[in-house]
Symmetry: C2
Subunit: 218 residues, 2 copies
DNA sequence: CCTGTTTAATTGTCGGACAATTGATTGTCC
DNA sequence: GGACAATCAATTGTCCGACAATTAAACAGG
């Protein structure tokens, strides 16, 4: 059970008739999956860990980033998946959004409107905006899955961020999304997300085309 | 880079001025995340692992199962998240489904129609059916996310499977879903999934009510 | 009753040793 | 020269013993 203490390393070694080193290596594997946490000292030992949303979220992100980077996932495929999932929680968000979530989205939009904002901060704010949107759906499982997916795809998205993105247009789309969530218009929210998706794909295509051109020139 | 070999344990120990035991414990942590794989022998060592969809899928499931079991996720919440994501890929599945996917779905429906099928096998076939549905969307990222979520929620679903589920009704709903995917009617497919979701919630509520009754009786 | 000290239990690290595995090398025979 | 067997060397896997670091509990003193 969560919080239970495992036998000490010495006891485990005796119990399984292996050395303490081997037990330790095994425990490290469990610790790496954050299934246990260890504490030193008199009342120390290995304890069954409570898997928090944060820990699960972090694991989700690392797995996602690796999967995307190691399997030559196309931008279109990743983008499609991301927006498909985000649209999935749009109706829920429209139905259940609280004032907190609306304000969080509005705050990010305000931040993004500042021209002095650095590219990195704009990116982070973008993530925070979409995170607020999925959180508005009020389903922690959905939030966990989606925010992990969104953040995992952030490196891919960054490829295009620093070059060709029109901030004003992004902010306008974000505002449209926030407005539809506020007015609980699920269909309009869906449409706005579709527009944001097509714009993202469009920007990516433009960047790719320009790159191909400069590559040919050299 | 993927496939690259790390320095040998002895070399790493020298490089970081720690003992080989400590290096090994660290490597075990990486191995637990399947970031590396180790091979013994002359040309052995630790190699940067290629994260396959299967490995990522397995990790997704274990994380999901633990998260659900350790955070007292309500059945309704899990169910809502699952069907929200599944509905997200329904339009894509309708647009892109190949004959293979249609046949896979049909095969599972046929299997489920056999009254002699054990409850466990019916469950497995259920998972396979929905897996075929998300695969029909033709987006590997979506498949990875969704099939992981579906399988993670299977233990929760099993709670109700062995008691109150009306197989004929499930099979009828599956048939409806398969038919709408075949005829590429995204809206009808969405509606069929909604019906399946409400039936699932309904069955769960019935089971809970009955349990509360028997608990009061004792 | 409070405070500081000691003590015991436990994990963290180290170094050395040997077994198991496996590819590469070498040697032998045809 | 080629096929096959024996040997070798590098590497991971396991074990053991020792000690340091840490921590909470038990204890002693005022």
């Amino acid at each position: 059970m969560v919080g239970d203490r495992l036998p000490s390393e010495t006891e485990l070694a005796e119990q399984f008739a292996v050395s303490r080193s081997t037990v330790r290596e095994a425990l490290k594997r469990l610790a790496a999956q954050s299934l246990i946490r260890t504490r030193r000292g008199a009342t120390g030992g290995a304890f069954v860990n409570h898997l928090s949303y944060d820990a699960a979220h972090a694991q989700q992100i690392t797995t996602g980033v690796l999967l995307l980077s190691m399997n030559a996932i196309g931008f279109d495929v990743a983008c499609e998946a991301r927006f498909a999932m985000e649209r999935a929680c749009a109706p829920l968000a429209c139905a259940r959004r609280s004032e907190d979530h609306l304000q969080a989205m509005q705050a990010e939009i305000a931040r993004q409107s500042d021209p002095a904002l650095s590219d990195e901060a704009f990116c982070a704010s973008d993530v925070a905006f979409h995170r607020a949107l999925v959180d508005a759906a009020g389903n922690p499982v959905l939030s966990w899955q989606l925010s992990g997916a969104i953040e995992a795809m952030q490196p891919l998205m960054n490829m295009i961020t620093f070059t060709a993105r029109d901030r004003a247009r992004i902010v306008a789309l974000h505002s449209r999304i926030a407005a539809t969530v506020r007015s609980m218009e699920a269909a309009a929210c869906d449409a706005a997300l579709r527009d944001l998706e097509s714009y993202t794909v469009e920007v990516h295509a433009a960047v790719m085309a320009r790159r191909a051109l400069t590559a040919r020139a050299t």
